[in-house]
């Protein structure tokens, strides 16, 4: 029996390695080759290793566009995630603590965002009317609107596990509603807040579709848009394309190594109700 477990394990490893790991090895190897070698798209090790040269070439391409892209993506991600945490926790708190018809209505309303795809062209029209089209803060607010449903879902479920006695003790001590939330409740939400931060950061950092629509223009590029644009520019320089893919793969890998548990908690929440 024990031996069978080893055999099944070894076979699964072999299959998982071929299907899931080899593509990433392919990226790493080709990111270190010269342009001519990488054009053959094979698995041979580079004859000439040029990791640093490819790295500097990618970073310098189109007047350091990649650095600008990393800057913009970071601003959008940090801004949107910060707002999502505060806004989402406030909504989840009130919805959970104050059950009423109005609350159920708001909850249902916010959850529609999880299912219905955004109407893109009318959104552009709205953004133009309020002068937020093609701006980073407009993009931040868009990501807040689109990420709200999932964030509220997580917070509302977690707040249900915090005893109301805590709020009441603070209220008896004379705390005002905002003080109760910021001094008593918010610190207790730390585990779910870490989950929200990690899961939403990855989603927003990896988002390609919405910046493509709402953030056109060279000065507004994001990391995913740059990767997409480089595809046409690097047709004859596959090594640089692969280096670029490698660069966008490393941030989620680091996050995954450090926050594995929180990611799993976030992705499976709401999955098992019974």
């Amino acid at each position: 029996m024990k031996r069978r477990q080893y055999v099944i394990g070894a076979v699964s490893f072999a299959v998982a390695f071929v299907i899931f790991v080899i593509p990433f090895i392919f990226v790493v190897i080709n990111a270190m080759k010269s342009a001519a070698e990488s054009a053959r798209l094979d698995f041979r090790l580079p004859q000439k290793w040029q990791f640093w040269q490819n790295l500097t070439d990618v970073v310098q391409a189109r007047d350091y566009m990649l650095l600008l892209a990393y800057f913009n993506s970071t601003v959008i991600t940090v801004g949107a995630v910060t707002l999502l945490v505060i806004f989402g926790a406030l909504v989840g708190y009130v919805l959970q603590r104050r059950p009423s018809r109005f609350s159920s209505f708001v909850y249902a309303f916010v959850l529609t965002g999880l299912m219905i795809p955004p109407a893109v062209v009318p959104t552009i029209w709205v953004l133009q009317e309020i002068n937020l089209f093609k701006t980073l803060h407009g993009m931040i607010l868009i990501q807040v609107a689109y990420g709200l449903g999932f964030t509220v879902l997580l917070y509302r479920a977690f707040i249900a596990s915090i005893p109301r006695d805590l709020d009441e003790a603070a209220i008896v001590d004379g705390a005002r509603p905002l003080q109760v939330f910021f001094r008593v409740i918010l610190p207790l939400l730390e585990p779910v807040t870490v989950t929200v931060i990690v899961v939403q950061s990855i989603a927003i950092f990896n988002d390609f579709t919405h910046p493509l629509y709402y953030l056109p223009g060279r000065e507004n590029v994001t990391v995913q848009l740059t990767l997409y644009n480089f595809q046409s520019q690097f047709v004859s320089q596959m090594n640089l394309l692969f280096m670029n893919i490698l660069l966008v793969t490393i941030p989620p890998l680091i996050v995954f190594i450090f926050f594995n548990r929180q990611i799993v908690a976030g992705m499976t929440s709401g999955a098992v109700k019974g």
Binding site: Q5, I8, D42, M115, I116, P118, W125, T209
Partner: protein, 286 residues
């Protein structure tokens, strides 16, 4: 006098106003704009013209049909493979923690990165997949250049990238099944296969509901992977609704693009609502 609540509704005001202005208003506006000939300069009411066009132009019809096909194929594959992988990865095989991480990691990687990577691996003559196939004497197809295969290839990559999430949800679901059930089944003389069909499948049903819903919705809405790998080509053979919406927007047919969006809402509602009902009913019965 009514006591003031300690949980004032205005706490929700900032979040709800952003959500209302940037999500609800455009969604409601889309119902009107889909009935207009709309370009960057003006919107002129035109009745159901856009919808008629959507269901009469062959390349637009193709997009609608492809969207449904894509969603069904990826959903079925993710559900079946996800359950089998989850059963394997909870059976105590050697190294199952690392295996779970390997299967799950692609979920977190940039879709555009995955799309471009597989575009190179699926190159008809030089691509790694066809080179590997040629070692065992198989002449690999033009994965992305053959019009009748292109969308299916994109679907396979979508399964590669998304099966980790399905597996993760199933693993969480399997963890809630008490070992007593298997114990009882074993005492009654049930084989491994019978245990799977009679114990695992019914008891993991809530996880199945989640996996099916999530993968159907994301399959119907998918844009980035198609756009990175084929841009709807060759011709219009791998166009889905989301890529049609983008193409019509780029060409300045904003009304037509918005009609595509409304069709996508309706399609999601029509497919998801009865499924939710059916799943919940089965859950109660079992």
């Amino acid at each position: 006098m009514k006591r003031k609540s300690h949980y004032p509704y205005w706490f929700m005001l900032p979040a709800i106003s952003v959500f209302f202005v940037l999500f609800i208003v455009p969604t409601l506006a889309s119902l009107y704009f889909s009935l207009t000939i709309w370009d960057p300069f003006e919107a002129r009411f035109s009745g159901f013209e856009n919808y008629v066009q959507f269901f009469s132009e062959p390349f637009l019809v193709r997009g609608v049909v492809n969207t449904v096909g894509f969603a069904i194929v990826t959903c079925v594959l993710k559900t079946i493979l996800g359950l089998l992988l989850a059963v394997l990865l909870t059976s105590g095989v050697w190294g199952q923690g690392l295996l779970r991480s390997i299967v799950f990691f692609p979920v977190l990687v940039s879709t555009i990165g995955v799309g471009l990577l597989f575009q190179e691996m699926m190159h008809p003559t030089q691509g790694a997949i066809n080179v590997a196939l040629s070692w065992i004497g198989i002449n690999g197809p033009g994965w992305l250049t053959n019009p009748s295969l292109a969308l299916f290839s994109v679907a396979l990559v979508d399964v590669w990238r998304g099966v980790g999430l399905a597996t993760l949800i199933y693993i969480a679901g399997l963890a809630t099944i008490s070992p007593d059930y298997y114990e009882a089944a074993r005492i009654d003389g049930a084989t491994r296969l019978q245990q799977f069909w009679r114990v695992t499948v019914p008891l993991v049903w809530p996880a199945t509901t989640t996996v099916v819903m999530l993968s159907l919705i994301s399959g119907l809405r998918l844009f980035d992977l198609v756009w990175a790998m084929t841009r709807g080509g060759p011709g219009f053979s791998s166009d889905v609704l989301a890529s049609v919406i983008y193409k019509q927007y780029q060409s300045g047919f904003w009304g037509l693009s918005t009609a595509g969006n409304v069709i996508l809402f309706i399609m999601i509602a029509v497919i998801i609502a009865p499924l939710t009902y059916w799943f919940n009913k089965r859950e109660v019965e079992s």
